[in-house]
């Protein structure tokens, strides 16, 4: 229905299609910080249109928040474009190590018929917080959900750094997922690709799954700021913009959405920052999310965001899974 917000999954369009409208600048966190067009999708597309190599700093600067994709009127595969550029870049030690790790994997765990109909792929931040992970699984229906042993974090990281993913390695990751009726994914970048790799599967983000829980919804207040995890949201924007709008209508909380209903990231990290090679500067992004708002609580879908807000604000920050009163601490 809305052509401009369709993702480029169906027909891949590339830099040659960029008309230079600059709409991507308006939602780009890198642009917000730098005001430098060369570090934006617009700048990269124009560089390529003129047959020039895209500056390595520009390729690395992208935070892969994916906000540029739903606003692009030319439906350019912005994420695919930046991942391709990263693949074409000179190898880095981080990429080499990851590549070696994946190639060296003899095999992933053997898939067996799952007992649960739904599988959860937590991200590394959620795994690092077992209490929160336990609350998540209880909320999502303890008996019907299993936490995947292989959550694809290495595949996600390979995507991020532009490393090749061996076909066998990918297939071994996907095979058990095919046996589940529903897949819930915490990592937004992985979610985007799972939708491409498993087009028939029912795949939902962790944020969507938790915010659909009646108990969680009941706990939302009108003075809450609900912080959507941008990657997952933008990778399924057309559908999720309606989901969160219903949440706003029914519960009255504010969201980290801009006037275009694009999610403003509280943590926006470039490649070096993602790999831990450079200090991140989440504070500026988190401050902009909070700027001018009158709120009493921050509700986050991502644990990374919680850390960012706790650094810049005294307002209580809770994870979505911590909202449901009916669950005792685990």
């Amino acid at each position: 229905m809305f052509g401009f917000i369709k993702n480029a999954f169906t027909s891949r369009r590339d830099h040659a299609d960029c008309s230079g409208c600059s709409l991507c600048l308006l939602v780009c966190p890198v642009w917000r910080q730098s005001r430098d067009i060369s570090l934006t999708p617009h700048g990269r597309a124009k560089a390529m249109q003129h047959g020039d190599a895209v500056d390595a700093a520009s390729v690395e600067s992208c935070t892969l928040c994916m906000a540029c994709e739903p606003v692009c009127p030319e439906k350019i595969d912005q994420v695919g474009m930046i991942l391709d550029l990263r693949r074409l870049q000179a190898p880095t030690s981080a990429r080499d190590e990851l590549q070696a790790h994946m190639t060296g994997l003899a095999s992933r765990p053997v898939a067996s018929r799952p007992a649960a109909s739904t599988t959860l792929l937590p991200d590394s931040a959620l795994r690092a917080h077992p209490d929160t992970l336990a609350r998540v699984t209880i909320l999502l229906g303890d008996k019907n959900i299993s936490v995947a042993d292989d959550d694809g974090s290495d595949i996600s990281q390979a995507l991020e750094v532009g490393a090749d993913i061996p076909a066998q390695c990918l297939e071994q990751f996907l095979t058990p997922l095919r046996l589940h009726k529903k897949i819930i994914v915490a990592d937004g970048l992985l979610l985007r690709h799972l939708k491409l790799w498993l087009p028939k599967a029912r795949i939902a983000s962790l944020g969507e799954a938790l915010s659909g829980h009646a108990e969680v919804r009941r706990s939302l207040r009108t003075t809450d700021l609900y912080v959507i995890e941008p990657r997952a949201y933008h990778s399924d924007y057309q559908r999720l913009v309606k989901h969160y709008d219903r949440l706003r209508v029914n519960h009255g909380c504010a969201f980290n959405l801009d006037l275009q209903r694009i999610a403003i990231p509280a943590t926006a990290r470039n490649l070096s920052q993602r790999l831990g090679l450079a200090a991140h500067d989440d504070e500026a992004h988190a401050r902009w999310v909070l700027h001018g708002r009158s709120i009493t609580r921050i509700v986050v879908e991502s644990l990374e965001d919680r850390a960012a807000f706790e650094k810049v604000s005294d307002i209580p920050v809770v994870h979505l899974a911590e909202l449901a009163d009916g669950i005792s601490d685990v």
Binding site: M1, F2, G3, S22, L25, D36, L259, Q260, R261
Partner: protein, 523 residues
């Protein structure tokens, strides 16, 4: 003939010579405006060295320059020798001083939404103003905002909305910049009530072509203020602006449908004359499917409209108009293709204006987002040709009807966007040699004629002939244009007359001795 040629060749580059073409001699003759010649770069190295001495980053890679190779129009192409991202008024001042000294052309670019190459650099340095995009101060009591001028209106709106404020009027395009808009006008659907966007400026910080940083307003350095507002970038670079703002309100929207352009225009003018609505504008799908948009900021204004003015409008509601169209095409089965086009456009466009995330309790929120997304989705492409006409109220119907005939001749499908502009008598000095016609009183009216390119390939001659045919109407009617600069500057003397043009040229020469600032736009 020989004399004329010799006169032309003796004219100094960067000026407009006398027009040797009789006022009626170009009618119906195909002709082409072309890119200006490229500056040869004689003193570029010395200029680049000067910037380096000042600590100004100059980008000379193909990628950096290629980013700005064209504008939204996509018909003018040129490469600067280098690009500088504006960071401060002091930096812009140093750059302009060096440019004057070395006679290097400076092209200033905001959102790059010009269509005739006005923001394309044909050599020299391109100054990317979007680097100056900070909001400096919002005063919610005095209802003003001070902002750096390279900011996109949408980015300004994002900041204002955090404190429940909004700008007064801005182009229905998310990536227009504040500085660029103040330099040319800026039309919104509330312009019939509030005037053009440039009318909302209270004060400016301007860097003159010789590098002086000057604060100006209608009461302080008024002459500079009057020249910079609507001045097409000839008299300075706007680096900061103080603008009026207001409390944010969503819109109560109404749509009325007409099968006659004339009737729709007459009704729109009726509303404007009587201050019957807060917003109004006309958008066509075809010339027999015309939409008059009317909107309000408050329930009170809406109720007054419903009681006093709605009964006088001759437009139809959506259902009534659909029935009328069904009857029209039932009686004209050979025009079923046209009916199918109308149906498809309605099916595609209408939902765009009714997206649930922008509609709450029947009110439209964030109208600029809704309109701008629709503009880029349905009318945006790599090439955009949008000639326009601006006239006084009494000449407007004729101008639009004649322009419509031109569109029919050149393109199968096109859109017209019509809006009124309330004139501010105290701003008359701002309006001289601008898009505001000199004979307009009370309101000026503007119409954009936008062919739907839709992947078709048209020759540049075809597009240029179309634009000339539209602009010739303006000359005949004594109107003006929004887009008379850049490749269309051949019309300037014909439209404004020698006396006005020569006076402005003299002012330009005094302000910009080396004629370096935005040199191919007007002069």
């Amino acid at each position: 003939m020989t004399t004329a040629t010799s006169e032309r060749t003796s004219i100094e580059h960067g000026t407009i010579g006398p027009c040797h073409v009789g006022p009626d001699s170009l009618i119906d003759i195909k002709r082409q405006q072309t890119n200006p010649s490229r500056w040869k770069g004689e003193s570029w190295s010395a200029f680049a060295a000067a910037l380096c001495d000042f600590g100004i980053e100059l980008r000379e890679s193909v990628a950096a320059r290629g980013t700005f190779a064209t504008d939204a129009g996509g018909t003018a192409y040129g490469l600067p020798h280098g690009v500088v991202i504006a960071r401060s008024a002091v930096q812009v001042s140093l750059l302009l001083k060096a440019a004057q000294q070395h006679r290097v052309p400076v092209t200033v670019r905001g959102g790059g939404l010009t269509t005739e190459g006005e923001s394309v650099a044909f050599g020299g340095v391109l100054l990317d103003m979007t680097g100056m995009s900070r909001v400096l101060h919002i005063d919610t009591e005095a209802l003003t905002v001070r902002t750096e001028a390279g900011i996109f209106w949408h980015s300004l709106a994002e900041e204002l909305r955090r404190v429940n404020m909004d700008y007064l009027s801005a182009p229905l395009n998310l990536t227009s910049s504040v500085g660029g808009t103040l330099g040319v006008g800026g039309i919104d659907v509330n312009s019939p009530r509030l005037g053009c966007s440039a009318d909302q400026a209270l004060a400016l910080q301007v860097v003159t072509p010789t590098g002086d940083i000057v604060e100006c307003s209608d009461t302080h350095n008024a002459e500079l203020f009057q020249r910079v507002i609507l001045g097409y970038g000839q008299f300075g670079v706007i680096t900061e602006a103080t603008l009026k703002i207001r409390r944010y309100t969503p819109l109560r929207m109404h749509y009325f449908y007409y099968d006659s352009l004339r009737t729709a225009i007459e009704d729109m003018q009726l509303l404007n004359r009587n201050d019957a609505s807060d917003y109004s504008g006309i958008l066509t799908i075809m010339d027999c499917a015309v939409n008059l948009l009317v909107a309000f900021d408050s329930d009170e204004r809406e109720a007054a409209f419903k009681a006093n003015w709605q009964p006088k409008l001759r437009g139809h509601g959506e259902f009534g108009f659909a029935l009328r169209m069904a009857l029209r095409y039932a009686l004209r089965p050979w025009k079923l293709g046209e009916a199918w086009f109308l149906f498809k456009r309605k099916r595609d466009i209408f939902p765009e204006f009714r997206r649930s995330e922008y509609l709450r309790d029947g009110l439209m929120h964030d109208r600029t987002v809704v309109f701008s997304r629709a503009v880029w989705k349905f009318w945006g492409s790599k090439q955009m040709v949008i000639p326009d006409l601006a006239t006084s109220a009494d000449k407007f119907v004729e101008a639009v009807e004649r322009g419509n005939q031109v569109c029919r001749k050149y393109f199968p499908h096109y859109t017209l966007y019509l809006v009124g502009i309330k004139l501010r008598p105290e701003h008359k000095p701002h309006y001289e040699m601008s898009c505001i016609p000199s004979d307009a009183e009370g309101w000026a009216y503007g119409c954009e004629f936008e062919p739907m390119i839709d992947g078709h390939v048209y020759s540049r001659d075809h597009l240029q002939s179309f634009k000339n045919a539209i602009y010739d109407i303006g000359v005949e009617l004594g109107g003006s244009y929004y887009r008379f600069g850049g490749m269309m500057k051949g019309y300037i003397r014909r439209v404004f007359g020698d006396e006005v043009v020569d006076r402005h040229l003299a002012m330009k020469r005094r302000a910009d001795p080396a004629m370096i600032l935005n040199r191919e736009v007007i002069f």
